[in-house]
């Protein structure tokens, strides 16, 4: 290694760091500036995205490892360079998908997400970073893309992908990637793609499992062909309740980037439609399932569609376009106790029985001292245990706690049905306990 090349390397590093400082300074002043109007699509890239006839020398050097593949070659790389891809959701799936699309040389990438970066996202959402916590995910993703590949024309939309923006945003792109986390948005993304005639690369992940399909492409089905009716909301588990192993959406999001490349290079059109199933701890880990083609009777992509414009997807699915926690209200106020009141009751030493109905993995994370652990799924069988424990504290009232205050209400209702009338649930559960009583109690 010569001194000359060291100097060059340091100079390049210095230039890159200067660019980064400028970007961060700009972002910092933007964040400090008073919020005026609601955030609109990021106006920056000053120049419009333009397509090119041929690759330039820096591009040839940069993408040489791909140019060497006969399956890609100059034509394939040029197709990526001239393509535009919209990624809906910059979360666990979107993170690696966006990064790889940018790295591989996709010319224009749109990122739409209304959420902000939280530290609990970083276990799987690897496009973001600690230093960008609190920043909009769309903008954070754009910063990461520009650090990785400043040639990529990346547009950040700090917006909810809803029916008011879906068609106008998606119309600007060749391919759409569904990297969302909830049922209504999945139907919205599907219908948008069908109405605009765009291929849709869709994936989902939860716990240790993932699923991947390309919809609305080359005679294949759309999401509604496969799932004409949305699932009952109570059967849907989200990542914030069910958990997810970080690398699982990473694998599925990376596969989405691969499917985009296959579409853009024309390889995908020759494949029969499949659903790829991934299960991290099962054998085999991957399975490819042959699926139905486009369905003639499909409500949106069939021969006589009944859906010709975007719908009210929240009403259609009976659930919100978010994967955040749901707060049920099943009990009258008199059957509930606030965390503050329950705290007072504990401090004054009033005898009672505290029942914690969370899953064992959650009970292992943290618990209030002196609680009886009866997981909600075993609750019905274990009511006698609860009643026996209550007799041991001379028939004192029962208080039920869980993580968010939903299962605890179900448990109180269940006890009512079994004739136990003096049970109450603790409103908001242990998360509320952390927020309003004891900040040192772990939140998860």
């Amino acid at each position: 290694m010569s001194a000359q090349s060291d100097v060059e390397r340091l100079a390049a590093e210095n230039a890159a760091l200067q660019t980064r400082i400028q970007a961060l300074t700009k972002e910092n002043s933007r964040l400090k500036a008073p919020q005026t109007s609601p955030p609109l699509p990021d106006p920056s890239p000053l120049t419009a995205f333009t397509q090119v006839e041929s690759l330039n020398n820096p591009e040839i050097a940069r993408y040489s490892r791909q140019l060497l593949l006969p399956e890609v070659g100059v034509q394939g790389q040029l197709s990526l360079r001239n393509a535009s891809v919209l990624v809906v959701g910059a979360g666990g799936l979107g993170s690696p998908c966006i990064l790889y699309l940018a790295a591989m040389g996709v010319g224009k990438i749109g990122v739409i997400d209304h959420d902000t970066v939280e530290i609990s996202n970083l276990q799987r959402q690897v496009i973001h970073s600690e230093s960008r916590a609190g920043l909009s995910k769309a903008r954070s993703a754009r910063l990461a893309v520009h650090e990785l590949n400043s040639d990529c024309h990346c547009i950040a939309y700090d917006l909810v992908f809803d029916y008011t923006v879906a068609l106008s945003v998606a119309a600007e792109y060749d391919v759409v990637v569904d990297a969302t986390d909830n049922v209504p948005t999945r139907y919205l993304v599907n219908d948008t793609c069908v109405l605009l005639g765009k291929p849709l690369v869709s994936a989902s992940a939860l716990k240790l499992d993932g699923q991947l399909t390309v919809y609305n492409y080359a005679g294949g089905p759309c999401y509604r062909c496969l799932f004409p009716v949305p699932p009952p909301p109570e059967t849907v588990t989200n990542c914030s309740d069910g958990g997810v192993l970080g690398v699982v959406p990473g694998i599925l999001g990376t596969l989405q980037a691969l499917e985009v490349v296959k579409i853009l290079t024309g390889v995908k059109a020759k494949e029969a439609p499949t659903l790829l199933l991934f299960s991290a701890f099962s054998s085999p880990t991957f399975r490819s399932i042959k699926i139905r083609g486009k369905q003639a009777h499909c409500a949106v992509c069939g021969t006589q569609p009944t859906i010709t414009e975007l719908q009210d997807y929240v009403a259609f699915c009976g659930s919100q376009p978010t994967d955040g926690p749901v707060h049920l209200n099943l009990l009258p106020a008199g059957d509930r106790i606030t965390c503050a009141d329950y705290h007072t009751l504990r401090q004054t030493g009033q005898p009672h029985l505290l029942v914690d109905v969370r899953e064992p993995v959650q009970y292992d994370i943290c618990r209030l001292p002196g609680s009886l652990h009866v997981p909600w799924r075993d609750f019905a069988q274990r009511v006698p245990d609860i009643l026996a424990a209550r007799e041991a504290v001379s028939h004192q009232p029962i208080y039920i706690i869980c993580r968010l205050g939903n299962d605890s209400q179900e448990a109180v209702l269940h006890l009512r049905e079994r004739g136990v009338v003096d049970a109450k649930d603790i409103v908001g559960g242990l998360l509320e306990w952390h927020q309003s009583v004891d900040p040192t109690f772990p939140a998860y």
Partner: protein, 113 residues
């Protein structure tokens, strides 16, 4: 007294491999794989179809909450059924005639990301 021998012997039961995934296993004692035996014909002496298998599962394997598995005489929305690694829509759905050693997968669609 001796009972009369049946006119025709009952056909050999069919062995079927069942698999529940994507969260479906939670309804089945958190067990993903079952190997079951099901009669090859129904009480009306017709061949056992996938619709009969679904009700057999409800009656024999499902412990609680049947509404999370069955809705209006078929599987509930959001469950995809695979017969030997193929979408059941390509195999006749409820009318598919169960064969010995079939693998039938019930997979709940995921929505997280």
């Amino acid at each position: 007294m001796a009972s009369p021998a049946p006119a025709t012997p009952a056909p050999t039961p069919l062995k079927v491999n069942l698999e529940f995934s994507g969260g479906m296993e939670l309804l089945f004692n958190n067990t993903k794989n079952y190997t079951i035996e099901i009669p090859a014909t129904t009480s009306e002496h017709t061949p056992t179809l996938l619709r009969h298998l679904i009700f057999w599962i409800r009656d024999n394997l499902l412990k609680e909450k049947p509404e999370l598995f069955i809705s209006a005489d078929t599987v509930r929305p959001g469950i995809l059924v695979l017969i030997n690694d193929t979408d059941w829509e390509l195999e006749g759905e409820l009318e598919y005639q169960i064969q010995n050693n079939d693998t039938v997968v019930f997979i709940s669609t995921l929505h997280g990301g």
